[in-house]
Amino acid sequence: MVGSFVAVVALSSVAHSSGSGWVQSVGALSAAVLATGLVAPLFSARRARVSCTRSPSDTVAGRTTSLTMSANGPIRIQPLLPLGPEVRAGGRARGERQVTVEVVPRRRGVLDAIVIEVASSSPFGMVWWAREVVVPLPRPLHVAPRTGVPGIADEASSDSLGDAARRRSSITGDPRGIRQYEPGDSKRSIHWPATSHTGTLMVSETDRSTDIPVVVDVTLPPDPEAAEREAERVMALVSRYLSRGVPVVLCSFEPGGRTVRVVLDRIELGRRLARAVSVP
């Protein structure tokens, strides 16, 4: 880029020393192409629109996660938060195109959006202009902690939660009630008689009882790294119970109070730990 500027200045100098108008015209033309090539990507980058059309609900820290994104032009996408490899949204010169962006979350958490850098060099490819864009995810992405070393934990069973800790919503099981349809509900759960009766979509809910759970109390330390290690340890510990078919009640002490959830599988465990917040 600097060389191009020097070349244009040199052309102008030669024009003035040799008296040639053509040199000046060629220099002006080169400068115009240069200026356009350097500035035009700024507008292309500003006009770039990116949205996430598909994303998983769950992943694990450190694991590569694929997101499907839609872009409105040939651009370069660099995930910044969480980080990921650079991707080119190639294809046709205009119109929407799908591109798979891979991100690698470093820590547990729940991501509602990701931060990416959108860059364009259109139309001359002289320079990339980039801007940061926050792209909402279609659904929250739960980043579970890595599975660490389980260590030793005190085990205890507790009846303090009553039957509530043993009832769990499930697709099959005992009828629990009927409620209005909410976005995200399965089509299979639609209760057609109630729907025809009320005139609005109604769905039925079922639940089933579980075995006597193991109660695991978790308190995450304030230090993020230490909290991450502790979450990894709990992940490993609870996973060991779950692998033996033992349900677990996970009690976490958080700023809002004690949070109690029954976890029946690793996905629920990961989500719960992803949401867990350290006590200050």
Binding site: Q24, A28, V33
Partner: protein
């Protein structure tokens, strides 16, 4: 790590460039630049053909080895480039004239062509190909440096097109894009064009540098073998025919450049380009002056053939021109005007120049200079001859000239003409009382009886003013009879004529008033071309005007034909004027009609594309619009029934109709239940009525509406797709 390994690591190219189009475009711009240098004579045919072949082979080789470049290629190419530099330095040292950049340009073009063609053997990566693309600009600049006409334009156009193609290919390669973004490219091209025009307009026009040796070269020069020392049309042995229409004197029909100027002969001037001039500022390019008037023709009393009255300069280029005694401008500060003349046609061996030439750079053995300032080359001047003249422009202002004619406080005039000069420049063919009376009548009231001040400037201005109000300009006038007095028949006859008649009548009237005057012939500056920075002088720019002598200022130009001062044009003003002229000539009515038709067709097509594909979609859209008026925006994941339920909350009176409508639409879209024609008509009528009612009843928040419109259209699109697929 050895030194060799480090060097290899440091020069490791980037990822291989696989775009064939980018490589072809890059090679093409280099080839076009080489061809441009060849066309301008800066590269010989063998070298140009070799460079073109090397560029093609080199690029093919680079593409073949792009994944695994040979490490030895770089040292070999470096040696080739160093060899090229050595050759360049040796050549320039031996043959170039110090300070003369034009003698360096040919070796420079050869060096650039050599460097670019050798570089093409080592362009594995995108960055290397881009260097080739950018490097061609230097070669184009060298080609442009010697161009004096618009012939380079076709090369520049091809170079720009291929260059832009290359840049777009580079972008495609970088972005992984396919196809060309025509709209973006069109806008970018427009911006480039506008920026180029703006830059050319705003940048100061380049002028000949005073720090360099001025260009001069002869083309087809041969010693003049003419008794008058004036040649005809560049032929050394063909004497100039004095004002004879049968002769070839002058290019494009002008008969003035000869021993005499017959104002009774008519000729039509053509539009051939005679020469191009690069000058510090525009001026009349003087060829000859005449001092003797015989009633119909002007003649030179000091014939260039007369060796006694002509000074021969034998110093060789550059020639220092002696200043004639009547030309010395002691009161006017002179400013240098450097002019380089590029002859586009074989012409007379006159050295055209701005007033008061001081030095001439011309490839001629000697020059002949008459004491009226006419400069004649001893060799003929063919097409392609280039010479440079340095003049001391001493044009005085009107105020200075008014003061110059007054007797100073000491009662002594700064300069006066010698008696011989007075006789020459006050000479008249024969006393013409009518012309003298007219001159006195025109200048009556200027000065008082007995006033020693002749008020020359005021009288000249009065005659010019009279000419502009009493004379009509036309070149279509009948020739004079042999014994007719040109001035008398012009002033007291039709009063229609062109520059020769007007300037001659002015000079004769001034002489009748006792004011020294003479006739000058040459060219007006011509049209300024902002691209070449040259004044393009055509045959029809040949001109005759009057020179009037002022004490202390010498001979000053007056143009009674075009009684307007010459402005120094700027590139911007020329471009603006040309653009305005061009725009003014465009047929705006058809263009406007075509634009209206195009815009209308575009709008119809847009509406056609955006038109809801089914009645269900149309009705759903009506409901969404109605909701938007009420500030109820449909969410992206909201079913139509849920949305209608929300609408019904806002308009409880319409709940049954809304729910029925939603059921019918959803039944059609998702259940494949085709409603009856009456149902469809009812739904359409209700939705339209509902929207109109909502619009008149409520107003929605514009910010919220704008923010959520995208969601609405997305939901509608989904529904439309579902409806059209029959789900």
């Amino acid at each position: 790590m050895t030194l060799w390994t480090r060097v290899v690591e440091a020069n490791r190219p980037g990822p291989a460039e696989h775009s064939v189009r980018f490589r072809i475009a890059s090679a093409l711009v280099v080839i076009i630049a080489i061809a441009a240098c060849w066309s301008q004579g800066e590269l010989g045919a063998p070298l140009a053909l070799f460079a073109i072949a090397a560029t093609i082979i080199g690029n093919a080789f680079s593409y073949w080895r792009r994944e695994r470049p040979w490490p030895l290629v770089k040292p070999i190419l470096a040696a080739c480039v160093v060899g090229g530099f050595v050759w360049f330095i040796v050549t320039v040292t031996r043959s170039a004239t110090p300070g003369d950049i034009s003698t360096v340009e040919a070796p420079l073009a050869a060096l650039f062509a050599w460097v670019l063609s050798t570089h093409s053997f080592d362009v594995p990566a995108r960055k290397d190909v881009a260097y080739s693309l950018a490097g061609s600009a230097a070669l184009m600049a060298v080609a442009a440096a010697q161009t004096v006409d618009l012939s380079l334009g076709i090369y520049v156009l091809a170079w720009v097109v291929c260059g832009l193609w290359g840049l777009v290919s580079m972008w495609q390669s970088m972005s992984g894009a396919e196809g060309v973004p025509w709209i973006t490219l069109g806008v970018a091209g427009l911006v480039v064009a506008v920026l180029t025009v703006v830059l050319v307009s705003l940048l100061p026009a380049p002028h000949v540098s005073t720090s360099l040796v001025f260009p001069s070269s002869s083309a087809g020069a041969a010693p003049v073998n003419s008794p008058s020392n004036l040649t005809d049309g560049g032929s050394a042995g063909l004497p100039a025919h004095a004002a004879s229409p049968s002769g070839k004197t002058g290019v494009g029909g002008f008969l003035g450049f000869a021993k005499s100027l017959n104002t009774g002969v008519r000729a039509s001037l053509g539009d051939q380009v005679v020469m191009r001039v690069r000058a510090t500022r525009p001026a009349f390019w003087v060829g000859q002056t005449y001092d003797t008037w015989d009633g119909q023709s002007w003649m030179q009393s000091k014939n260039p053939a007369d060796s006694r009255s002509v000074q021969t300069l034998k110093s060789g280029s550059p020639f220092d021109i002696p200043v004639a005694s009547d030309q010395q401008a002691t009161l006017s500060p002179a400013s240098t005007n450097i002019q380089t003349f590029y002859l586009a046609q074989s012409g007379p061996n006159l050295v055209f120049h701005a007033d008061n030439a001081q030095r001439v750079y011309l490839q001629s053995q000697h020059l002949l200079v008459t004491n009226d300032g006419t400069i004649v080359s001893s060799t003929s001047m063919g097409t392609g001859t280039v010479y440079t003249v340095v003049s001391a422009d001493s044009t005085a202002t009107a105020a200075q000239l008014q003061a110059a004619t007054a007797v100073g406080a000491s009662g002594i005039r700064p300069d006066i003409l010698t008696p011989d000069q007075q006789t020459r420049y006050l000479q008249l063919a024969q006393p013409d009382p009518r012309v003298a009376a007219l001159a006195r009548q025109i200048t009556a009231g200027i000065g008082t009886p007995g006033d020693p001040d002749p008020h020359t400037e005021a009288k000249v201005s009065a005659i010019e003013t009279w000419m502009s109000s009493h004379i009509h300009y036309s070149t279509d006038i009948p020739p004079l009879q042999a014994n007719q007095n040109a001035v008398d028949s012009f002033l007291f006859g039709s009063r229609i004529g062109f520059c020769e008649q007007i300037s001659t009548a002015t000079a004769v009237m001034l002489r009748s008033l006792g004011i020294p005057a003479r006739e000058a012939v040459g060219y007006v500056p011509g049209s300024y071309n902002p691209i070449t920075d040259l004044y393009q002088v055509e045959a029809k720019d040949a001109h005759a005007w009057v020179q009037v002598w002022f004490p202390g200022y010498g001979w000053q130009n007056f143009d009674p034909t075009a009684n307007v001062p010459l402005a120094n044009p700027s590139p911007g003003s020329v471009i603006a004027a040309s653009t305005g002229h061009f725009l003014g000539r465009l047929p705006w009515v058809p263009i406007g009609a075509a634009l209206v038709v195009m815009v209308g067709a575009f709008e119809l097509r847009r509406r056609h594309i955006r038109r809801p594909p089914t009645w269900a979609h149309r009705s759903a859209l009506e409901l969404e619009r109605a909701g938007a008026h009420a500030g109820i925006i449909r969410r992206g994941n909201e079913t139509l029934i849920a949305y209608c339920a929300r609408l019904a909350d806002a308009a409880p009176g319409c709940r049954p109709e809304l729910m029925t409508t939603a059921s019918v639409i959803e039944g059609f879209a998702y259940g494949g239940i085709e409603p009856s024609a009456d149902q469809m008509a009812w739904v359409s009528a209700f939705t339209r009525r509902f929207r109109v009612g909502r619009r008149s009843a409520t107003t929605g928040g514009p910010g919220e509406g704008r923010g959520q419109t995208r969601d609405t259209s997305r939901a509608s699109s989904k529904e439309a797709a579902a409806a059209s697929s029959g789900r």
